[in-house]
């Protein structure tokens, strides 16, 4: 499977892209097994609570799509609905041309990886992976060959005879994965499969999963609450909160042009600053023009600043066409290893976080707590969202 076209980040930043509908469509190549998923008006209620509220979602053929949201947002409910373990109250789910809303799980031909791996402890590795083949009447040497191929794909050649309790966490993860794709499913679903691994292993598995997805070319829906994991792995991210789809786009667009305060807050670090709109539609922060609301009549606007997009400007720096400069007092500077985090209080006491590299060039030189500092924000890095900041 070849590389995907990605939306160019530069095109999507700033106020313009918020008003422009940015559909970064991936030119998904047609894999042999990949199938698109088309979800329409999917609703699931538990009592008076909507776990899913009229969700529309298209997963392109061969795409790696991540459902990202806090716990209880409905992302797992949505995944379980696609798998068939959860019957929605209304709506439609189509795999390619086929409506599957009434199809039982075992007829959906969907590979699934659970958070707990759910390996069968009474079978060895080869029997675990061979289980879906056995159910399909594939026996003898063909089964053995396909199991061995799957083991090779997940870099566990020769592990077939091992028992499950002889495997490490990462190895179990790979076996669960091999079992999910060995029968050539049209769709692969994963429910937080890496959350039980430690950080180092998790990050390595993220890259491996991405490779594997590229190799298999199977449509993949991945659930996580880890925004970093979502940014790392996905072709597109569907941000879900309170049972609703908030934003669906490429990681770059989600990060650079969040649709609202929730997305801006949930993904990446951010400081939110309220803006004032004048009659002409221009948006101001403390008297400095930062953007334009255009035709949008909305009253409340918020400036989102990412700590790593801010920098320390020289003492005499002033706002110009290129840069917005804020002046304030350095409150605290915290060393965090690969970077340093500074909290700067701008005039009325609002604190803005600034993240800067720890190379000699980037640090705020001799600034110590209590010093007057100027922080700069490139106008290209301005993110403006409608509405007030999240509560």
């Amino acid at each position: 499977m070849d590389r995907r076209a990605r939306a160019v980040p530069g095109e999507c930043t700033g106020i313009d892209s918020r008003l422009k509908l940015s559909f970064a469509v991936t030119d998904a190549p047609q894999g042999t097994t990949a199938l698109p998923i088309e979800i329409r008006d999917l609703t699931k209620r538990y009592g008076s609570v909507y776990a899913l509220n009229s969700v529309d979602l298209d997963v392109h053929s061969g795409e790696f799509l991540t459902l990202l949201g806090p716990s209880g947002s409905g992302k797992t409910t949505l995944l379980m609905a696609i798998a068939g373990f959860n019957r929605p109250d209304s709506g439609s789910i189509r795999f390619g041309e086929d409506e599957v809303i009434l199809t039982p799980p075992h007829k959906r031909e969907v590979g699934m990886v659970f958070q707990s791996y759910a390996l069968f402890p009474h079978m060895n590795v080869a029997d675990n992976i061979g289980f879906p083949l056995k159910l399909r009447g594939i026996t003898g040497s063909e089964r053995a060959t396909r199991v061995e191929e799957a083991l090779e794909t997940v870099q566990l050649s020769g592990f077939g005879a091992r028992n499950i309790d002889q495997l490490s966490g990462g190895q179990r993860q790979r076996v669960a994965l091999a079992r999910a794709f060995v029968f050539g499913p049209r769709i692969l679903l994963m429910d937080e499969p890496l959350s039980a691994l430690d950080k180092k292993l998790r990050e390595r598995m993220q890259i491996e999963l991405k490779h594997l997805h590229r190799k298999l070319g199977v449509t993949t829906v991945y659930v996580t609450h880890d925004q970093r994991e979502a940014l790392t792995m996905s072709d597109r991210i569907a941000v879900i909160n309170d049972g609703e789809l908030i934003q669906l786009d490429t990681p770059e667009v989600i990060y650079n042009s969040p649709a609202n305060a929730f997305v801006a807050d949930f993904i990446g670090e951010s400081t939110m600053l309220p803006l004032k709109r004048d009659d002409a539609g221009a948006l101001f922060f403390r008297g400095q023009k930062v953007g334009d609301a255009g035709a949008d009549e909305g009253k409340d606007w918020t400036l989102v600043v990412r700590p790593e997009r801010l920098f320390f400007a020289g003492a005499g720096a002033e706002t110009d066409d290129q840069t917005i400069v804020l002046k304030g007092v350095l409150r605290e500077a915290v060393f965090q290893g690969e970077s340093e985090m500074a909290l700067v209080a701008i005039d009325d006491g609002t604190e803005v976080a600034v993240r800067f590299g720890t190379s000699g060039r980037a640090s705020p030189a001799a600034s110590i707590t209590g010093d007057q500092v100027s922080i700069g924000l490139d106008r290209n890095d301005v993110i403006i969202i409608p509405g007030e900041q999240a509560a």
Binding site: F85, P104, V110, G111, A118, L119, F131, A180, F183
Partner: protein
């Protein structure tokens, strides 16, 4: 260093310091087991009456038991009823435990309580109720009637044992199996059942014992050629006391202990399923 001053555990408390605990434990165990074990020497007595300690020894009461068609028929009935109870109560118990475990319905707690009532209600009440109910439908003195009544008694035990087994089982395995192409039934038999098999075997053996040891319901609803061993023993105790009872008791104690011990040893080492 002698045994007395050696630490008994990681706590550095010596065996000597634990002496009171050993003595207390021994007394409690003796009180629990002695009444059961006292029949063993009595069964080897040569006397016409129950006598402890026996003055002379013989195997005549074992010969008496094994040679009597009445006792043998009762024994066969008890085995038959026990096995049938096991075959009725075990599948029902597994099904009920599984359903209650999987379901998120609000009524599961109430249904569970309802199903284990035979364990809470005094058996004599169940026996009286069953007797009158069977009288209406003509099921007194039948094997089927006794099996049904004993199954009601065994069911709560089977449910509790299997529920305990399911609790350490990860149900998402069954979901995985279904996503991989297994029907729900297949997923249960191929994935779930093999992993809770020790609980199921335990439930089966306990169901058998529940029926085999049961006397109160048997007194009420079994009789004639379908009277159980326990009912005959009770009648024998009441009408004429001879050491045949002790011989039978000894055999029953050995059988029950063997079954319970086999449950302990059959179970997976380390994990309690």
């Amino acid at each position: 260093m002698n045994w007395w001053n050696r630490p008994a555990a990681d706590t550095q408390i010596t065996h000597g310091g634990r002496l009171w605990l050993y003595v207390l434990s021994a007394i409690i165990m003796l009180l629990l087991v002695a009444p059961t074990l006292i029949v063993v020497p009595m069964s080897f007595s040569d006397s016409q009456y129950l006598e402890f300690p026996p003055s002379t020894w013989s195997l005549r009461w074992y010969e008496e038991y094994l040679g009597s068609t009445k006792w043998m028929r009762a024994t066969a009935t008890s085995f038959q009823v026990g096995l049938l109870t096991m075959l009725v109560a075990t599948p029902l118990g597994v099904m009920a435990a599984y359903a209650l475990f999987v379901s998120r319905h609000r009524a599961t707690k109430a249904i569970f309580l309802l199903l284990i009532t035979p364990m809470i209600v005094p058996v004599i009440l169940i026996a009286i109720g069953t007797f009158y109910a069977y009288g209406r439908v003509g099921m007194n003195n039948t094997i089927a009637g006794l099996v049904l009544a004993h199954s009601a008694l065994a069911l709560p035990i089977a449910i509790i044992v299997v529920t305990a087994g399911l609790r350490s089982y990860d149900l998402s395995q069954e979901q995985v199996a279904r996503s991989l192409g297994a029907t729900r039934t297949k997923a249960f038999f191929l994935i779930t059942l093999p992993q809770i098999r020790f609980s199921v075997i335990t439930a089966a053996l306990l169901s058998f014992l529940t029926s085999f040891d049961e006397v109160i319901i048997a007194i009420f609803v079994s009789g004639g050629t379908n009277a159980t061993l326990t009912k005959h023993m009770f009648a024998a105790l009441r009408d004429y006391i001879d050491p045949t009872i002790a011989a039978i008791s000894t055999i029953m104690v050995i059988l029950s202990s063997a079954l319970l011990l086999s449950i302990q040893f059959l179970g997976p080492r380390g994990s309690k399923n």
